[in-house]
């Protein structure tokens, strides 16, 4: 690396002062640069799945590298003389490639014509203005800023600043290497004069890189090494270490050829850094024993993966598309839809501590490191309705709460749910209902609900579980309700309707009952401000979440309220045939394409 190569008898006083710390400083900077491997523009995300094309990646690398060489060289005219003939040829070539790349990006990748043309023109101007120190430096600064701004698009103010500094410093660094490598016999003088800016650039790259790494929540965890991203980082680190090693090993005998090799290694590192921008960032480290929501790269696809509760024992895994998942050598399980909830799910047994979750689609595989800790999760995750509990944990993530799920909704009947059921039975009695069919299952919540409903109904002279009952009340879990609503399609619906327990108000369940028109007693308005806030945060967190009453309760974390329990009618209200419009998928609302409307006054307490 030119910054620390202090060779030959003509060493400067500056370099002499650096010499004792040379090795340590080189290692620190190299490792820092490696840790901050993703350049400023290479931000990943837990929730956005985009894999740009290889052609886009190649063009981007080419533009960034060539523009960095030209712009950095122009900027270095502040301290360096005009480039040699070799150096000039290099810059002319780089500028031509950069300008052509800018213009090609307009029709191929939708770059703004005005901006791309301006950037191409100024880049070419940098070379043309080489004889004028002022003009060259000024144009170089403009292009460096343009490249830095372009590379840093889309970040917050702090991220934007760090990204721009990172890119600008990298431009100076790589340009200095190129200038030294093409200086011929004057390479020592070039190196000496560029030492100060290069040291400064190195420090800026390191500091801004660390800042970016922190903003991206990246660590030196081995997670990345199993991914393409990690491989690129490793190769990049190798290139940097090679450059440093070359400089240190040949410090007294270094020749210009060695400098060229060093410059090439540094350029390789920059290219790899640029390519990291278009490679999915590896998922952030799992938090021990907490539900995990990450994006995993599988082939060209980036799949959202949700693991809950991420504790030892049975867990549920939701994948953004149909896939096969598994841990360790236990084999892979196919995902499938679960009742009451959106998406593709699978049940997976997790060992205590660290493990790797494999996600397979076709012949492609991706991996996600898990950290289940030692504390087992709620036993309800072994049941068919585990997804309801998983949605509670997702609601906590949406709330950014540190709370963990200690029990599941199916474990007990909440007081407000009991009140809702009680008042519903009374409402039916007043409506003239004389018999009621109760659908339940073996969960603690359902059993408690059935027991209470039976007591209240019989107290109101209503017959419970009579065939052909006037009305039906479903108090089972999601899977039982889904089966019942499915069965209702094949038989006459009760004249007085089908009533669902509060915890069953989920879009996938309501959709199954679209031709039945279900009613649900609720202590909250699913289209009220609080509920819409929950739905909005849930949709921002991930595209696969399902708004659920128990999730909403966890999201709110408020004491039970029974003051205003009303009956809500749920119906998909699609008043057009599909041939007129276009199919529409799941929207970010409690009931996409439908209405949940309060149709009663507050139900009276018993």
């Amino acid at each position: 690396m030119p910054t620390f190569a202090d060779q030959g008898s003509g060493r400067s006083r500056v370099n002499a002062r650096l010499r004792p710390a040379r090795l340590v400083a080189s290692l620190i900077l190299t490792s820092t640069f490696t840790l901050a491997a993703p350049p400023a523009w290479a931000h990943g995300s837990d929730t956005v799945a985009v894999t740009p094309s290889i052609w886009y990646a190649a063009l981007r690398c080419l533009i960034l590298l060539t523009t960095a060489v030209v712009a950095g060289s122009a900027l270095l005219r502040l301290v360096l003389p005009a480039p040699t003939a070799n150096g000039h040829r290099l810059l002319v070539g780089a500028a031509a490639v950069a300008a052509a790349g800018d213009l090609i990006a307009v029709p191929t990748y939708g770059a703004m014509p005005a901006l791309a043309t301006a950037q191409a023109a100024v880049t070419l101007g940098c070379v043309q203005a080489r004889s004028s120190r002022t003009a060259s430096t000024g144009l170089g600064a403009i292009v460096v800023l343009l490249v830095a701004w372009e590379a840093a698009a889309g970040h917050g103010p702090v991220g934007l600043l760090a990204a721009m500094l990172h890119t600008a410093a990298a431009c100076v660094w790589v340009a200095a290497a190129c200038r030294v490598a093409t200086s011929g016999r004057a390479w020592r003088n070039t190196m000496r004069r560029s030492a100060a800016p290069v040291v400064l650039a190195s420090v800026v790259v390191a500091v801004s890189g660390v800042a970016q790494a922190r903003l991206d929540h990246l660590t030196a965890s081995p997670i990345g090494w199993r991914t393409l991203f990690g491989t690129l980082v490793l190769v990049k680190a190798g290139a940097l270490i090679g450059a440093v090693g070359l400089a240190l090993a040949s410090r007294r005998r270094i020749a210009n050829g060695g400098m060229r090799l060093e410059a090439a290694l540094l350029a390789l590192a920059v290219v790899l850094g640029a390519s990291l921008a278009v490679v999915p960032t590896p998922p952030a480290t799992a938090e021990t024993g907490r539900p995990l929501l990450r994006v995993v790269s599988v082939g060209h696809h980036a799949l959202q993966v949700f693991v809950s509760p991420q504790r030892p024992g049975w867990n549920v895994v939701q994948v953004g598309a149909s896939a096969r998942v598994g841990v360790g050598r236990s084999g892979l399980t196919s995902t499938h839809p679960l009742p009451g909830v959106n998406g593709q799910w699978a049940r997976v047994w997790l060992p205590a501590g660290h493990s790797w979750l494999t996600v397979e689609q076709g012949s492609k595989r991706g991996q996600l490191q898990l950290d289940a800790g030692q504390q087992p999760g709620p036993t309800a995750f072994a049941s068919a309705d585990a997804a309801e509990c998983a949605e509670v944990s997702r609601a906590l993530l949406a709330r950014r709460s540190d709370a963990t799920v200690r029990s599941c909704p199916t474990d007990a009947l909440r007081p407000d749910d009991l009140q809702a059921l009680t008042r519903t039975v009374e409402f039916l009695r007043v409506r003239g209902v004389r018999s009621i069919h109760v659908v339940s299952d073996a969960s603690s919540r359902s059993l408690a609900a059935r027991q209470n409903v039976q007591i209240i109904a019989r107290a109101g002279a209503m017959v419970v579980d009579q065939p052909g009952a006037d009305a039906e009340l479903v108090v089972s879990g999601w899977s039982g309700a889904a089966a019942e609503l499915e069965a209702l399609r094949g038989r006459p619906a009760p004249e007085f309707g089908v009533y669902l327990a509060p915890w069953l108000l989920t879009a996938p369940l309501i959709s199954r009952a679209s031709s039945v028109a279900t009613l649900t007693p609720l202590p909250f308005d699913p289209q009220g401000a609080a509920a819409t806030d929950y739905v909005s945060h849930l949709s921002h967190l991930s595209s696969g979440g399902t708004p659920t009453p128990s999730g909403f309760a966890a999201y709110q974390d408020l004491p039970d309220s029974t003051a205003d329990i009303r009956l809500y009618a749920s119906a998909l209200v699609s008043v057009l045939p599909t041939s007129l419009g276009h199919a529409h998928g799941g929207a970010a609302s409690w009931l996409p394409g439908g209405a949940i409307t309060a149709v009663s006054a507050p139900l009276a307490p018993d």
Binding site: P494, S515, S536, S543, H582, S589
Partner: protein, 612 residues
Amino acid sequence: MQRHVSLRRRPVPYLALLGVAAGVLVGISHSAGASTTLVRSSFAAKDGRTFSVTNHLVTNANVSTASSAGHRPHEWLVVWAGDANAADSTGASISHTPLAVNPVRAQAIDGKDAPPGPDFLAVIDADRDSATYGKVVNTATVGPLVENEPHHMQYIFHKGDSIFAGGLYSDVTYVFDVKKLPQLSLSGVNQPTDTPCGSIPDAYWVLKDHTAYGTYMGGPDVPGPCQYTDGQTRIGNGFGGSPGSIVHVGTDGSTLSETPAALPTSEDPVQCINYPVLPQATCANPHGIQVREDLNRLVASDYAEPRNIVLDPVKPQDANLFRNTVRIFDISKRNDPRLVSVSTMPDGPRVERNPGHEEPRGIMEATVTNLPGHKGAFAESMCGGVIYYTPDITLAKPKWREVFDDTRAARQVDPEVTEGGGCDGGGWLQTSLDDKYLYHAVIGRSPGSLDTYDTGSAKMVYTLDIAKLLESGRSTTCSIDHISEVYDGGAESDCPTLTSVLPVKDLTSGGPHWGTLDNFVRGSDGYFHETRDVQRIAISDYFVARTGVDGDHKVCMVNVDGEGHLTLDRSFRDENEGTPCVDFNRTSWPHGDYGNAKPHSELFVVSDADLR
């Protein structure tokens, strides 16, 4: 850049103005130095829930309220619009938002990632001579309910009327006082519990006593027997199901009567399927509604059982869910309408591969004639794409005949049109007040809707000359009964003739669905007067986003000349874009940065004080 103050952002000191009258609370607030003035009124519903409307009056709009000194009489276009939000876009569309190659991206164009904002009535300056013609001078937001899915108001406004506006999904009818336009106040709210035997309110017709009839397309709120205000009982299959009802709403929002739209006996169980099946089959899902008070007749057209079954992944779509019937009520006793006829619209000459595209499917709208000598009415089918006519709605068994196929109008835009009427989304249907013309808005069918070979059908508003048809009275012979008449128009001499077609350029899934007549003209005295000589109409381009049919969210003004020709009024321009039509896709409103809005219906309104 305009400054504005919203209740949400800045806690402003409220001058609670006092008045508690008939359960109505009124509060007024002014923000010194701000460019938006807030005026809020509340209405306490019977169940204790408080509803409100908050005016966000743009103070630099250079307009004055009807009651202020030095006021110049003014005409307004009031638009009932819903907030567009995350629920109107799919989760997939949000997560698949492409990354930009360059840093310059559109900034918060539509706020689709925002939580729901308030629905509102937009008051637009409709005075051609005004410097602020086309400017939104007030947005009156309603609360606390969001996502009402604002739908229809009444068809036309007369002196002394209130505005009746319905929320399709909230099952609520709002009543607005417009005496102080551009300021509005809330004078009544009709909640779901006020209409237990009907749901999904659709359209309204205001009577001379300023009360209104409304169609409730869906069934009773709760499945089972429901007793109406006249003592009759029908068994319904619940919210959004069947049968619907006709509701007479008072100016305070109260239910004066709720009448069954269904016969006491079963209708054709094959034509009138219901899910779940009802003991008495019914097609009673009234959508469009118009009234001839002089004839004591109310005409309501049945559209569809609105609860979604067409997307049911298991059950195949049944075309008969889209109704083919028109109901006529005797309204001699205004609070006791009596159903006197249920007419089935006849099939036409087209042979469609999709039974849902046959002519009588989905009778969305009906319109009555207006002059005393005329007793006829028209109806149109949204999926069938045709227009029907009966010369006398007072008959016990009115005879309806098909008199026009939308294909004839679509041909004007695309001579190679295929399946021009097949589920083309016909909507607003309105006779001119002098009974010379018939206006019709057609959403059109987007290319590719049926399959890759489908080039679509025109999005348009067209005019028919109906003078000869009405002249022929009950002896009319017009009938679209031969396949050649689909493309060429009716062969009989009294058939309606196509006068004008205004194509609407819209690349969205929707198109023009609604319109309204401007029945006001400024007199030499400076005041406005009602007129039968309609010289312009307003149209809106939005249906219901969550059905998959959206629109470009524009409200346009259309000039109508003496021959019924339609031309876009290019002077009615968006204040932000500077281009014709008011675009409801915008970042900021007087009530805040809530992004895009969905304008479903509109109404020309003049305050009583400005109307002679």
